[in-house]
């Protein structure tokens, strides 16, 4: 990759790191272990959106393990916590999986406003920088001006867009997009879909229909079905991941808006429960603000 990109990624990561580290880093680990330290760690994990269940589990583990290893000192406890979190998240280290069919199709889904369209734009830019030819499919035909929003992104990154009118059948848009990409030998089709709450069954069915349409072209596609989670959302993300996974075989997660103060700790229970690889994190609204997910850095940042 080009140097400027690397710099940009570093900068973004630092920003995230600073934000993520806040609550746990104010904890004073430089003391000997007692009940109040465990309580403070518990509190901090809860504040980071790790959730009650996972937090209780982690605290239990820390208590048992520190006894077993005869750990007395807070710094060592912190190390132990770090190990544990990295261990959990390592199962979910993930990279974008492209198989080199022309086209590879990447399907984006998620609840309303989570950042799908923006992530499509950012990923398109990233792929273009790697020399790929990218087509955007405007399959959100429902929300007001969703098509126009994607058009702006297509312009920005210099990608072709395939669109129908507002209100059109999303599966038909996808068909046209993949079909034309195939005819022209494009590398990748990114499919932007309408936001939908996981509780709405008919909308989940619509996603399955879109997926089937893609599979008509190749059984290997979509090579990625990416669930875009909003990093500011709390425990509800677990439910979202469960339901979307069940309905559409999600192959990866993108978590956005980690440039704010939200900690994204909900990734821990999600990863524990569902083992879905986490592929990218979104750290801003600009075209470069998409980074690969790295468990070590994430945990490092979380603990400060």
């Amino acid at each position: 990759m080009f140097k400027s990109v690397v710099d940009r990624l570093k900068k973004g990561l630092n920003k995230t790191k600073k934000q993520l580290s806040e609550s746990l880093s104010v904890l004073n680990f430089a003391r000997s272990i007692d009940e109040s330290l465990f309580e403070e760690v518990e509190f901090a994990l809860l504040k980071a959106d790790v959730g009650v269940e996972a937090t209780e589990e982690i605290i239990d583990f820390l208590k048992k393990e520190s006894k077993k290893r005869k750990i007395k000192d807070g710094e060592q406890l912190k190390q132990l916590l770090k190990e544990k979190l990295v261990e959990i998240l390592s199962c979910c280290r993930g990279q974008l999986n492209l198989i080199g069919e022309k086209p590879d199709v990447i399907l984006f889904l998620g609840i309303n406003g989570s950042g799908k369209t923006t992530t499509v734009g950012k990923l398109a830019a990233l792929l273009k920088r790697e020399g790929k030819s990218v087509v955007l499919a405007a399959a959100d035909t429902f929300r007001a001006a969703a098509i126009e929003q994607l058009e702006v992104w297509a312009d920005r990154v210099g990608a072709r867009i395939v669109k129908h009118q507002a209100g059109a059948d999303p599966a038909a848009v996808v068909y046209d997009a993949v079909n034309s990409a195939k005819a022209r030998g494009d590398d990748i089709v990114l499919v932007d879909t309408a936001g939908r709450l996981h509780t709405k069954e008919h909308l989940m069915k619509e996603l399955q229909k879109i997926k089937k349409t893609i599979q008509k072209f190749s059984p290997n596609q979509p090579c990625e079905t990416l669930l875009v989670l909003d990093g500011t959302i709390g425990q509800n993300s677990i439910k979202q991941a469960e339901v979307f996974k069940q309905a559409t075989d999600v192959t990866g997660i993108v978590i956005t808006k980690l440039d704010g103060t939200a900690k994204g700790g909900v990734l821990i229970p999600i990863c524990q429960k569902l083992k879905i690889p986490i592929k990218f994190i979104g750290v801003g609204e600009d075209i470069e603000d998409l980074q690969p997910f790295d468990p070590e850095n994430f945990v490092e940042a979380l603990l400060g």
């Binding site: 007001a144 001006a145 509800n236 704010g260 609204e285």
Partner: protein, 442 residues
Amino acid sequence: MFDLLTEKFSSVVEKLKRAKKLDEKTVDEALKDIRRALLEADVNVEVVQQFILDIKQKLVGQEVIKGLNAGETVIKLIYDELLNILGEAEPLTKAEKPPTIIMLVGLQGTGKTTTAGKLANYLKSKGFTVGVASTDVRRPAAAKQLCTLAQTIDVPCFVDENEKDALKLTEKVINQAKNAGLSYLILDTAGRLHIDEELMDELVKIKEKVHPHEILYVADSMQGQEAIETAKEYHDRVGLTGVILTKVDGDAKGGIALSVRKVLGVPIKFVGVGEKISDFEPFYPDRLAQRILGLGDIQSLIEKMEAAIDEDKAKKMAERVMNAEFTLEDLKEQLQMIKNLGPLENVLKMIPGIGSKIKDLKVDEKQFVKIEAIINSMTPEEREKPHIINGSRKKRIARGSGTTIMDVNKLLKQHKEMKKMMKKMKKSGKMKLPFNMPNLPF
């Protein structure tokens, strides 16, 4: 909305109802369960600690309230405390000299633009002249999005897509809108992070230019632990006058609803309950408190029915429901009405004692068609007195409606259970504490 919280609270309530004495163990256990329920619902940790402390303090030395048993006394206290946390409902301000300017602010993607359309629609339906204006120069196609919504409800939309400076844009649209003879003007702003100095500055400047009468913070009801810090920062910077919670049509756990009033002292004024422009309601704290405790939201249900349905019919129906004279004909009519009410799950959840029990209920609207077909194949007498439907009648009905005898049996059983439930509802009266309900049909 807020199902999980309701579910958890209901189980605490069930346990408490069985408690005869208010001993320390009973109370501690209940409080522990409640703490957990609140945390799982993303209620801010600090708010949770405080809530538990407050209840505990009140319980020490608490006499059992007359007419209630021990468990019910605790429930009553929790209910009061919830109400205390949620505060009073407050209406929108109205400016002495129109237009009343309402500015919507908040994080990215929470639903500001959509809400601008919804609020305009709501005010318009109350008979006011309303306009919307955009100050968002950042989000791609923001102006287009707002005006598309405005167009569907036929209200004026003030934008200038060529103006790329937010402050200049603000000035332009405000000047245009002020001369349009509106009673309300709704101002959409770009989403921004509370820690984004530059953009928060911009927001302050927009505010100073516009002097809005209301600054409403549009918050995603699914937000996590940072929700309150974020809202607080907004409040400190621009001075919020209210909150609108969005996306409560999902299975949001509603933590922010319980935290925001307590921490900011700012009322929740509306909730967004869907993607459609009409999916929008005023917020009533008492109803939410009742819902959380599984007491249902009969009031919202009735209002919703009234809005969607011919008023007379609805009243008659409510009466019949209350008197448990619910015939199959009524059921059919009700299904037709319900179709106008929007997603059935939402409606069912408002019924006391049911909301918490149908967490995983999926309403297949196709079932409706089947039920209607079956009822249509019945004689008026059969609809009035389902008990006369014997084997041969069932056969005829199944054939006539293109269904099976099993389907007919199922419907009859469901109807019977509904009726039973309504009888119980009637017996228990409105403010009585929760009770066991048979599982809802469908």
